[in-house]
Amino acid sequence: MRNDDWKKVSRLVSKKSLWMVHFCTGCGAMEMPPVMTSRYDMERFGIAPMATPRQADVLLITGYLSIKTLKRVVQVYEQMRDPKYVIGFGSCTINGGMYWDSYNTIKDLSKYIPVDLYIAGCMPRPEAIMDAFLKLMEMIEKGEAIGWKKYHKYYDQYKRNQRMAFSYRLDEVQDIKEDDAK
């Protein structure tokens, strides 16, 4: 079997077993219980909630992120093992949403960690979440969900943006090269 074929099979099987860790900030966490319980039942697609990022494949950011929370999110994201995917919930992760003018919440999540998929809405309905997961599976199968590859490739850019955010200054960016880029 050629390596490409093997990768294809691997993707085909792996998409049916997405384990997620949800980072419950904001109100998006409230939409998860109906998705998981008997009304919508996401487990029928092999999606299961996990307790720690070590075990998980998908990171759900379910709402706004303050800078302080962003630090934890980056920590959690880096603790996840490849291949890993990120889904951003609602307007807050896209452009800040109702926190568009807040001094302490980030406006665009994809500047700090690679986001594979956004779900629009404030908040998105459970149907939208289900749809997003199906879309993610499709992307995985086609090999389009490559956020984790992007994170490796543009690691210095992501780190730069994270440093800017953590220090609340645009100019105070240290030399990334010294950091052990993975």
């Binding site: 665009d108 953590f166 609340y168």
Partner: protein, 152 residues
Amino acid sequence: MMAKELFPDAQEIRKGRIRIEVEPEKVGEIVKKLKDNGYDHFVMLSCIDWINDGQFELVYHMWSYEYREHVMISTRIPRDGGSMVTLRDLFPQIETYEREIHEMFGVDFIGNPRLGEFILEGWPHMPPMRKDFDTEKFVKDFYYKIPEVKEE
């Protein structure tokens, strides 16, 4: 004894809601007196930025379960370099409110040992709850200026 009897010049906004305006130096004394007279619940400490007057207003909220009465002790301190003596010896929980007000408004509470970083981590700018802090401008100058990740 009820607050009205203790402080005859207190202003009764409506039933069960008393407001006392005092000098900053007298706040400790009054809070202690109220605490000894049945007002044993310290509700919170809040701060208002009167930017046109150049003053911060600190409001100490207290509640008595006995009289079912809410007392607000209001005091004003100067906006620039204003400071206040900590009351953490009377009510330990005041410490937390003082930390928050220190972080958000920059008021110095003399005697509070924990006035460090509280909610914000590494915030280098002006305390953000002050009225002269323009959040919209800050967001535009900072968050929107963070560059997108460029893909080659």
